[in-house]
């Protein structure tokens, strides 16, 4: 299926600005990545290039972005160039003082990773004692200084039946956005998949319940972004594209500047320091393949393929070795 509507540049860059981390998450995809970090001067140069290409926003991640001492300076530079700046953090290092500095340096949004309403469950998953307490504690000063907060939850065995409790936790902490991220089998996520990942039937049940909760909840925006929910009759009207957004609306940059289609697809398609972003965006054979997938296996006869386009490309690649294969999380079998 040829996808002809390709934007001239990504809207968002997800930027793993460092691989250093103070956590030991059981699903971590970057812990074993030995890539070096770009220094501040090179980062500024790269941010200029991104802005010139037409990108709207940068979302810093990692690793834990706050372990970079120059994060605030980098954010000042990016926001000063008119880019929308946000980050994903484990929240452990966010105090009232940090929240003020984040606001002053131009961060408009900060997502905090919290995977359970039960402190011990979250702490075990993230590998650090008191991490749940510190994550919740980070939300208050962020809200106080006017940074939009969200809770990001990686859905897996430890939390897939706790949707209502996760929503209530967000509500009690004055968080207006709750993002349910599907489990990715990259890095430790692959090593621990048998213990943590859900079966296709468990994913079906989770999404039915999550979409039901989303429909019933008006005070919190619940994000349930996974192309495979198309088979439940759900169409995400807010997305500009069908299937995965990676390589269509967004790109990922690693700590050394290497560009990959998304954080969970370890295929390097260029380097932001040395290459032209527009050139890569428009001419990368890998991106072209991702934008124009060929249905394989059960996708060939599936009536929902035109909406889901085979589901998550990263999962298909990680678990089957072929981006065109059906998303291994997909439960749907056409009659």
């Amino acid at each position: 299926m040829k996808n002809d509507w390709i934007l001239k540049a990504p809207l968002t860059i997800n930027w793993a600005i460092t691989n250093r981390c103070n956590f030991k998450c059981r699903h971590c995809y970057s812990r074993d990545d030995p890539s070096e970090e770009l220094d501040r001067q090179n980062l500024s140069h790269c941010i200029e290039k991104i802005k010139e290409a037409g990108v709207f926003s940068i979302n810093f991640g990692g690793g834990e972005p706050l372990l970079r001492k120059d994060l605030f300076d980098i954010a000042v530079f990016a926001s000063g160039r008119g880019l929308s700046v946000s980050m994903n953090s484990n929240g452990y290092l966010i105090s009232s003082e940090t929240a003020v500095k984040l606001k002053e340096s131009g961060f408009s949004k900060v997502g905090i990773s919290i995977d359970s309403h039960i402190p011990g469950t979250h702490d075990d998953f993230r590998g650090v004692k008191e991490s749940h307490k510190r994550a919740l504690k980070a939300l208050f000063p962020l809200n106080e200084v006017g940074i939009e907060t969200s809770i990001s939850t990686v859905i897996c065995k430890i939390n897939c039946k706790d949707i209502d409790k996760l929503i209530e936790m967000a509500r009690q902490n004055n968080v207006k956005h709750l993002n349910f991220h599907n489990y990715k089998c990259t890095g430790l996520g692959y090593s621990n998949k048998d213990e943590l990942d859900l079966s296709p039937e468990e994913w079906r049940v989770f999404y039915l319940e999550a979409l039901n909760a989303k429909q019933k909840t008006s005070d919190i925006h619940i994000s349930v972004e996974d192309p495979i929910i198309a088979s439940l009759g759900y169409k995400d009207g807010s997305s500009l594209v069908k299937g995965s957004v990676c390589g269509k609306l967004s790109l990922n940059i690693k700590s050394n500047g290497d560009i990959t289609p998304c954080g969970f697809i370890p295929i390097v398609i260029g380097n932001i320091l040395n290459d032209n972003l527009s050139e890569i965006w428009n001419n990368s054979p890998v991106l072209d393949m991702m934008r124009n997938k060929t249905p394989r296996g059960k996708c060939q006869k599936c009536g929902y393929y035109s909406d889901c386009l085979g589901g998550c490309t990263a999962r298909a690649l990680a678990l089957t070795g072929d981006i065109n294969n059906p998303d291994p999380h997909c439960w749907y079998e056409s009659q």
Partner: protein
């Protein structure tokens, strides 16, 4: 009648390739309403506008609704009554999303 302004927090850009494609289609009398010629982005919300939507959006710089309709009537081969209905509805949607605001 109030003046209409784009919300300065909304980031947007035209997609030149598709803009050219849409205007070429218009010349030939093709249906181009499904070709996105610009993208708007605010707080994680994305919106793709077709050629008419983009032209309306670009005119939200202090003009009034009647002025926008009048200028577009000269540019697009559409019945004035239909154009007025389309423009009014579209502006109402943009207002609801917080992408524009009105000022007396």
């Amino acid at each position: 009648m109030p003046k209409i302004y784009r919300n300065p927090d909304v980031m947007w850009r035209e997609e030149e390739k598709f803009k050219a494609q849409a205007f070429e289609g218009l010349e030939k009398g093709d249906d181009v309403q499904n070709i996105g010629t610009s993208v708007l982005y605010s707080g994680g919300t994305m919106l793709a506008l077709n050629v008419l939507g983009t032209e309306i959006w670009k005119k939200c710089d202090g003009r009034k609704t009647d002025e926008i309709i009048s200028e577009l009537t000269d540019k697009f081969d559409v019945e004035p009554a239909i154009l007025k209905e389309d423009v009014t509805k579209f502006l109402s949607e943009l207002k609801e999303k917080g992408f524009i605001y009105y000022e007396e």
